[in-house]
């Protein structure tokens, strides 16, 4: 218990864990897009930036309450997700990936060239509204929502699209529209995460949302175990804490980080928790194999 208390009182742990929680929400959004629905997205940071800037501007200029701004940030990110999805969701695999990457870069460059966001000089003077409690309440809400989504008709349809698009379509699923919906929900979480980020850092700069940030988040999702919520949580935890733990190796830090990425993929190509169905493990522990009728679409 002492450990838990020290997290709440020690500002450094508090800071690191809050950051981790913020990125976890974004990663869970990407989990729905890439892990559950199987669609590549290499531009997730763009949606964070949309949520971050829009909520920050509302806070600064309209003085509206933080939760409203966060919601609007999420919705705006989702709107852009839909706008990007409508033309590009007909593309498959890597082509979709590279399109989202391009979109991400374009959004960043637009922010650099926009006056109201402070351009390259960044946007300062954002009040601090985010704290560890809000972040983790939202993390729990996000996890809860995603579990519900995955175990619903909607979520099953998304998993079907990941498994086999043609079969999904002949089962009556409007694949194109469902992909857009998944993209909208996933980018909504990215927008919320961006809003939290903005009100945590209190200063935004377009360079915070480059493609390396997008790939970081993708890393969280893949490394933990694609398609698995616990995997995404673990991946985010390991990879956001790793740079902190690796501080003692100083300038060799990124060298080790890069090598770790390669090694983890070679030894666990499906991610740390890939192919480990925690729900099933849990259930078999609880009821020794005689589970209830609901099975998660999570594997």
């Amino acid at each position: 218990m002492e450990g838990v208390l020290s997290i709440l009182t020690n500002p450094y742990y508090n800071q690191v864990l809050t950051m981790m929680g913020i990125f976890l929400i974004a990663a869970l959004g990407l989990h729905l897009i890439t892990g559950v629905t199987g669609q590549f997205s290499f531009g997730h940071a763009a949606f964070l930036s949309i949520g971050a800037y829009s909520s920050a501007l509302m806070t600064i200029y309209l003085h509206t309450p933080f939760f409203l701004n966060m919601l609007v940030g999420g919705l705006l990110a989702a709107l852009f997700g839909i706008l990007l999805g409508i033309p590009s969701m007909r593309l498959t695999g890597d082509y979709l990936g590279i399109t989202t990457l391009g979109f991400g870069e374009i959004v960043r460059i637009v922010f650099i060239n926009t006056k109201i966001t402070g351009g390259a000089m960044g946007l300062g003077g954002i009040p601090k509204e985010t704290n560890i409690a809000i972040v983790y309440i939202l993390v729990v809400l996000t996890v809860f929502s995603l579990y519900r989504i995955q175990n619903s008709r909607f979520g099953r349809a998304l998993a079907a699209i990941r498994e086999d698009e043609i079969a999904a379509e002949t089962m009556g699923i409007n694949v194109y529209w469902y992909k857009i919906k998944a993209f909208a929900v996933g980018t909504f979480f990215a927008g919320v995460s961006g809003a939290l980020f903005a009100h945590m850092m209190q200063y935004l700069n377009p360079s915070d949302f480059g493609f390396s940030r997008s790939f970081d988040i993708l890393n969280f999702v893949v490394l933990g175990g694609l398609g698995s919520i616990p995997g995404t949580i673990l991946g985010t935890a390991v990879l956001s804490l790793a740079p902190e733990f690796l501080r003692f190796v100083k300038e060799y830090r990124m060298l080790i980080y890069g090598a770790l990425m390669i090694l983890m993929m070679i030894f666990r190509p499906y991610g740390l928790l890939g192919n480990v169905d925690l729900v099933r493990v849990f259930r078999s522990l609880r009821s020794r194999g005689a589970g209830k009728g609901t099975v998660s679409g999570d594997s």
């Binding site: 590549f40 593309l91 890597d94 060239n113 790939f215 890393n219 893949v222 694609l226 990425m261 190509p269």
Partner: protein, 291 residues
């Protein structure tokens, strides 16, 4: 002015094309976006610099030396980071490619001592030729000649040699090529080697042309070259050349037309527009839905 900008654009495009070829060949064969390719290009540039600055060799020796280092490096990268993942999910090799990329950038930074850019000694005279109002510098001429020669050489290799035929067969159908007795591992290694040779040449040429190299130079150039490969139709060798030239010219003219603040967005904007109308790029084969 128009023709001068065109010359600038074509020169830039030729370097993109050299790098794009590596992406396109690898993708054509194992459907992998080799994100570490930009780092091979970067290391090629550094090897070239060391050769001319420390060993005082001439330009062509430096070019060959860069290739000689990058070829085994790329083959090694494939062996260590991609081959074990060939039958895994599509994202696994992508992540390990990013890992290789970070590793090599940091490694070069550590060896060099800092991430600051280095200049490139003059191995080619600053001669300027004038063709009417259009000026060509000698280095631009060298880039165009070397790039064209390499691309012609590659095209001949792929079209007429045994390994080239094996490459085409493998990219057509990996499994069948394997069953037909083609050693696909050899083919993949050869593909990485060929791509690395071109990237190394690209690194040395760009280093000389723009006079500056740094450990992170592979990132943006790599991404843009990959865009070029996709625009041209990934998997298609003429497509990569076309895409490279198109992007180079678009970028130069975009800047000249006053979109200089959006320069980095030009390549990506072009990419998205082309993909929406031709989902597999300009010269790519349309995907047949297989049921």
């Amino acid at each position: 002015m128009f023709f001068q900008q065109l010359v600038n654009g074509v020169t830039l495009g030729a370097t993109y094309a050299l790098i794009a070829l590596g992406y396109t060949m690898v993708y054509g064969i194992i459907q992998l976006i080799n994100f570490a390719h930009g780092e091979v290009y970067m290391i090629g540039a550094f090897v070239g610099l060391i050769m001319v600055a420390v060993y005082k060799v001439n330009f062509f020796i430096a070019l060959l030396a860069a290739m000689a280092v990058c070829i085994p490096l790329a083959v090694l990268i494939e062996r260590v980071a991609y081959r074990p993942l060939r039958n895994s999910t599509r994202l696994a090799p992508l992540i390990s490619a990013l890992g290789v990329s970070i590793f090599l950038q940091t490694l070069v930074t550590l060896i060099k001592g800092d991430p600051n850019p280095l200049g490139f000694p003059h191995v080619i005279q600053d001669t300027v030729y004038a063709l009417g109002p259009v000026k060509f510098s000698l280095i631009q001429v060298v880039i165009l000649i070397v790039a064209s020669l390499l691309m012609v050489f590659l095209e001949i290799t792929v079209k007429y040699t045994k390994i080239g035929k094996a490459m085409r067969a493998t990219s057509e159908d990996y499994e069948t090529a394997n069953l037909m007795g083609i050693n696909v591992n050899h083919v993949v290694s050869f593909t990485f080697a060929a791509g690395a040779a071109l990237a190394a040449a690209g690194g040395v040429l760009v280093g000389m042309y723009f006079n500056s190299i740094n450990p992170f130079m592979g990132v943006t150039v790599g991404l843009k070259s990959f865009c070029a490969a996709v625009v041209g139709g990934i998997g298609s060798i003429p497509g990569a050349m076309l895409g490279g030239l198109l992007l180079g010219i678009a970028e130069v003219f975009g800047v000249a037309a006053g979109f200089d603040t959006y320069k980095e967005a030009i390549s990506f904007g072009l990419l998205i527009i082309i993909l929406l109308f031709r989902p597999t790029g300009l010269l790519g084969h349309p995907i047949q839905r297989k049921v």
